[in-house]
């Protein structure tokens, strides 16, 4: 079982709720994925409209845990205020903390992230920090009170998979006891399987499912990939080697000598 802030989860696939062709497809994709945690956001509501209510009803009907995000926040102040607002709307201490530092890559501002994490952890929030694979930043976030880390695989929505395998391996090795979730950049199920094979505890996917030609089918495929990757990690993969090693025993080979 995956344990995030003392919450036990069977599924190691967390799903985003944005960019689906319709609310119905979103609902069906969440069910098909088996995800128990779905990310949500806050946006300005036009006066007289009740767009938020419809979406919130849909999410509640799915019976999943929500993980609100601070997407779009570029400063500590914005992220902290958004977190306070999210707790009121969604009635959860969980927050996927994003402080964006650069608009082309949506790379986190790790300095702002650590500052916001320190404030929010002290206030009792359970922070899921969207970070990079940087070890020093990771250490700082843990010291600020975060109990898990969400490093990017690649820039959000890029579908490029695990860009820095060496860095991600190092992060896993450095913090063997800390739940690590790859957040962002995963494009296809093999990327997700690879993350789990490396020992990552879970993956958070959005665009790769939502914008697939068939989101339901892709949600199922990701669920299978995550299961396969986890099983492979537990089974202990072999080490790659440079030279061939015959898999068929050579002793007693015919026509030799």
């Amino acid at each position: 079982m995956l344990e995030l802030y003392k919450t036990q989860l069977r599924s190691r696939l967390l799903l985003g709720s944005a960019r689906y062709p319709s609310p119905a497809v979103l609902g069906a994709a969440v069910r098909a994925s088996g995800a128990e945690v779905v990310t949500v956001a806050l946006r300005r509501e036009a006066s007289g409209e009740r767009a938020g209510q419809g979406f919130w009803n849909l999410i509640r009907e799915l019976g999943v845990r929500v993980l609100p995000n601070t997407a779009g926040c570029h400063s500590v102040k914005e992220a902290v205020t958004t977190t306070h607002m999210a707790r009121e709307l969604f009635a959860t201490p969980w927050i996927k903390l994003e402080v964006i530092g650069e608009d082309d890559t949506l790379q986190p501002d790790v300095f702002g992230l650590a500052e916001a994490a320190r404030i929010l952890c002290a206030e009792g929030f359970e922070v899921f920090p969207y970070t990079t694979e940087d070890l020093v930043v990771a250490e700082r976030l843990l010291e600020c009170g975060c109990r898990l880390l969400m490093p990017w695989g690649a820039p959000i929505g890029s579908g490029r998979g695990l860009n820095n395998l060496f860095g991600l391996r190092a992060l896993r090795a450095h913090f063997p006891e800390v739940p690590l979730i790859i957040d962002a950049g995963i494009g296809v199920p093999s990327h997700a399987a690879q993350a789990l094979e490396l020992g990552y505890d879970a993956v958070l996917i959005n665009t790769a499912v939502a914008e697939a030609r068939d989101p339901l089918q892709m949600a199922r495929a990701f669920a299978q990939a995550v299961e396969a990757g986890r099983a492979a990690y537990l089974a202990g993969p072999i080490e790659p080697r440079d030279m061939a090693a015959p898999s068929t025993p050579v002793i007693g080979t015919a026509f030799r000598g």
Partner: protein
């Protein structure tokens, strides 16, 4: 007085946040609010006076990654 609601200037006759939300048609909506960058809990809206030029954010649940 004029206040900035979700980035747009609005004229209001109301003196505090709860009344402004009602006046602007948010009465029935599931929303959360901030004034000048600070969160204002739903229970405090009736006791939150507004002044000319205040910046109000009115946010609702939305799809997110």
């Amino acid at each position: 007085m004029r206040i900035l609601v979700n980035g747009a200037w609005r004229e209001t006759r109301s003196a505090e946040l709860a009344a402004v939300l009602e006046e602007l048609g948010y009465g029935e909506s599931v929303v959360t609010t901030a004034v000048n960058g600070e969160f204002v809990a739903a229970a405090l809206r009736m006791r939150t006076p507004l002044a000319e030029g205040d910046r109000i954010e009115v946010l609702a649940p939305m799809q997110g990654g």
